[in-house]
Each structure stands twice: as C-alpha cells, then as structure tokens.
Symmetry: C2
Subunit: 279 residues, 2 copies
C-alpha cells in the first residue's frame, strides 16, 4: 500500500501529483496522477475517476484535460490511472491497439497476457484501496468517466458494480467491443475466442443482459474518425432506448477524437458529476 | 505570405490550428499555432500573442495552456509562435538554453547565428503580416504575453514598440538578461560581448532608458526554481517603482515554473487583456 511521490505541483489552488507503486495485481510498478483541490483540514472530497484511451498514460489527460479549474471549483479529486502495465518484462504487441497502452480494462485469461494485464482488478480493487489509504477521498462519493477505450472502461466498470459510482459519463466511448475491430482484437487476445465471455466487457451487452445505470452522460464528436468503424455510439443509444435507461448522448457537431474535443466538454462533465456526487 | 495548414481541430467552439510557412526572415520553415474563437462572418477579433519559454515550440502552450475556454468567452485570437528557427541546416548549441528552442527574441549579429536567429524581426514584423493576411485579426487591438524567456520577449517587444500593444503581461519572465546566466550566455552568443548593445533586449534596462508601458500584469510563483538565479522579478518591481510605472507584479505562493502554474492564471490574464483590448 505504500506509494512513492514522483512529483507534485501546485495548480489551480490544489495539488497535482504523480505517484507510483508496486502493484500486486499487475506485478509491475504502476503510475497514476491525482489532483486534490484545496480543502479544509480533515475534509474528505468526492472522487472522479478518469480512464484514458489507447496509447495514453496518466499524463495525457493530466496535461491536456483542462479538468483542474472545474475540479477546484467543485471540490472534487480527479484520478487518472495508466492504461496498462508497463516494463521490459511485460509482453507487448506491435500494434498501438493491443498490449502496452491498451489494457482494455479487462482481466486477461490468455497467455502471455494473464499474469500482468489485469486492469479490471487494478481499477476495481487495488487502486481504490490505495486512493482511500493515501488521499482525502470520500469513497462513498465516487464518479467515473473516460475517453474512447477508457469510456468503455468507465461504462463497463460502472455497469458491473451497481451502486459504487453515483455518476457515470464518457467521452467518445467504445460502446461495444463485440462489434468493432479494436474490441475483437483485444478481447480475442486477452480473453479468448469464446465471445460469450466478452459480454461482461461490453457496455451494450451488459445493458442487454440486465445491468443498469441511473443516469448517463456521453459526448461524441460527429467528425471523429473512429465513430463509424469503432465507436458506434448509436448502439448505445439504441439499447438505452430499448430498455428505457436514462442517457444523455450528445452528438457534438464538428468535434474529433482528440483532447481538443475532450477539454471542451470536460468542465461540463465535472459539473455534471459534482451535482450527483454532492447531492 | 502563403501558409500551409498542418492541422485544425474544433475546440471550445472555435478552431485550433497549426500552420507552417517559409520564413523570409529566418530562412527556414516556421510553425505556429492560432486559436480563432467562433465569430460572426466578417468580424475581426482582437489578438493575444503568447511567446513561449526555453525548450518550447508552439505546441507546449497549445496543449497545456488552458487558454481556449477564456479566449472563446472573450472572443480573442491566441497566437503561439515557435521559439527559434528549426532544421538540420540551422546551427545549434548543446545546451537547452542557447540555439534551437532558445532564440531569446533577438536579431543575432554574431556568427554562426546571424543568418537564422532573427526572432525579433520574425515576431515584430513577419508573423504579424502573416496573421493579418490569413486570419480574422484586428491588428489595431493586439495584446502580448509570454512565459519565462517568452515573458522577456513580450516585455521587450512591447517596450520597444510603444502603442502597438494595448496590453502586456507575463508569466515568470526573465526581467533582465544583463543580470542572469541565461541572458549572459544567450546575448554574448547572439549579440556579442558589448553589453551596451544588450540593453534593447532587457526589460529593466529599457525602462531605465525611458521606455514605458501604460500598465503591466506579471504573475510569478514563489517556489519557482529559477526565481533567485535567473528571473529576479524584484529587479522589475524596483524599476517600475522607481519610474512610477504602473505594474501589478503578483507573487503567487507555492507555484513553480511549469504549465501547472501558467494554466492556473491563464484565464485571468486573458480576461485582463480582454478588458483592455475591447475597451
């Protein structure tokens, strides 16, 4: 449970830190960032998890996400984990969409991935314990969001853990790994060819199979290069309508898949989570 | 005067672009970024120049500066040039603080720098013409700011061009190259050993020699590693008091030299410029 501080910087009145620890789950060192707003001594603050997309580390959103002003205003801790185990001993793939930087928030069952690629358990179990033990985090008030592969992570982790997150949102999420090339490559590799086992890692399938969220906010750019072939937002829209699950799925005209898009709507997402986390 | 578009992304309702052109002044291709907020057809918008610090390109502030929300709100174009000429044929130095990434906003007179390292003329003459010709920029309403070496650039360019900029601010500027190791190395190299010739590239000396700004905003972190040895904010404070030049020089407790500091106060700087540019 001990963590090591890589760096801390004062920003927007609070502290932006980067930390590392030896993960029992992945068997590797893991790095993550946490922004803690200025707060009264002894106070515990709500937590917003942000899961990143393919190729990212904690650093992308930490540098480009433009979340700190809003988190400082609303008094919310912002946590950004890495997207996979790292290190010379960790297996990898030549593609950007599998292996390092592409953990897909699953617990791999296939070799050579099973030993290290356990991002589901890392995000669901180990990192929350570390957060609770080392930061002024009110674990009764957690929200979760993410981008692309991390949007998939946020949706599926929240759907599988009813009641844990008071608020769930996503930026341009992969909504159904069962129905896109990124998902097919990753889940075949990590979980194996039996597609029935993929359903717990597929937001649309989880909802079809009965999982529900009380509410959902999704922003998706209309000129996102990955919309048609990979993200397929309409599948999420359809299943939410079919089962009558409340979801604000906003198609944002002219926006792409980049942090220029994410940062545009970040403050709105933080405010949306704050409303639910502080209710 | 033709420019090439490297990329454009919609962000905060406007367009964040990156552009390149063949510079007649530096004899090299030069890259810069421009954010143009959403605006009425035919409208011309005020311009805020941002000059970057040592080691930076246009990209650092473009990605980490958190200026777009404020520029969109106030309807201000944000321009971020590179900090030096680039390319295999351009001379360089082994240090991070001289040569590429360290143009210091001077016109070099010494060899081998004189042919390419002409960032003063590039920022004062060539890039404004390109901006006026290619963007909806109201060149009667310009403000300028910058960070560290770029804060030095903003102050000295504004002081040497009275009336051109309606507003001038800086983040942790080098206030007197005559009195710090970064300045001594760069100006000896670019301008030569005659320190009298350095005075036009020294904000404190320019003010001592009679140049004035109507107003000035400076933010400086108190735990900035470069404060004591390089930046020496107190020299600017002293000269402004001595000549009775209005200047808000704010020492910001606990902040460092990074973009985590800059981004914290960026929205306030943009609002401060907006007030003067739109008056």
């Amino acid at each position: 449970m001990t963590i090591e501080t890589v760096s801390t910087c004062k920003s927007h009145g609070g502290t932006q830190g980067v930390y590392t620890h030896a993960s029992a789950v992945t068997g590797t060192p893991m790095t993550f960032s946490v922004f803690v707003p200025d707060h009264a001594p002894g106070a515990k603050l709500p937590v917003l998890w942000y899961l990143s997309g393919l190729t990212c580390t904690h650093a992308n959103v930490t540098e480009k996400g433009e979340f700190r002003a809003a988190c400082a205003e609303h008094g919310i801790i912002f946590v950004a984990p890495d997207t996979s185990p790292r290190g010379d001993d960790v297996p990898d793939d030549e593609g950007y969409d599998f292996g390092k930087g592409a953990g897909f928030y699953v617990d791999a069952t296939q070799e050579p991935w099973a030993a290290n690629f356990r991002m589901r358990s890392y995000i669901e179990q180990e990192l929350p314990e570390i957060l609770a033990a080392n930061f002024p985090a009110d674990m009764e008030r957690q929200g979760i969001t993410g981008h692309s592969m991390g949007g998939h992570g946020a949706l599926t982790i929240s759907l599988r853990n009813p009641g844990r997150f008071r608020s769930t949102s996503a930026f341009s999420p992969i909504v159904s790994p069962l129905n896109c090339p990124w998902g097919e490559k990753a889940l075949t590799g990590y979980i194996g060819a039996d597609r029935a086992k993929w359903r717990e890692y597929d937001a649309v399938a989880l909802i079809e199979d009965g999982a529900r969220l009380p509410d959902l906010l999704v922003d998706q750019g209309t000129t996102d290069n990955f919309l048609e072939g990979q993200l397929k937002t309409h599948l999420l829209d359809h299943v939410c309508r079919n089962v009558d699950m409340r979801a604000a799925i906003r198609m944002q005209e002219g926006y792409d898949h980049s942090y220029y898009f994410i940062s545009t709507f970040m403050a709105e997402h933080v405010a949306w989570h704050a409303e639910r986390l502080k209710a």
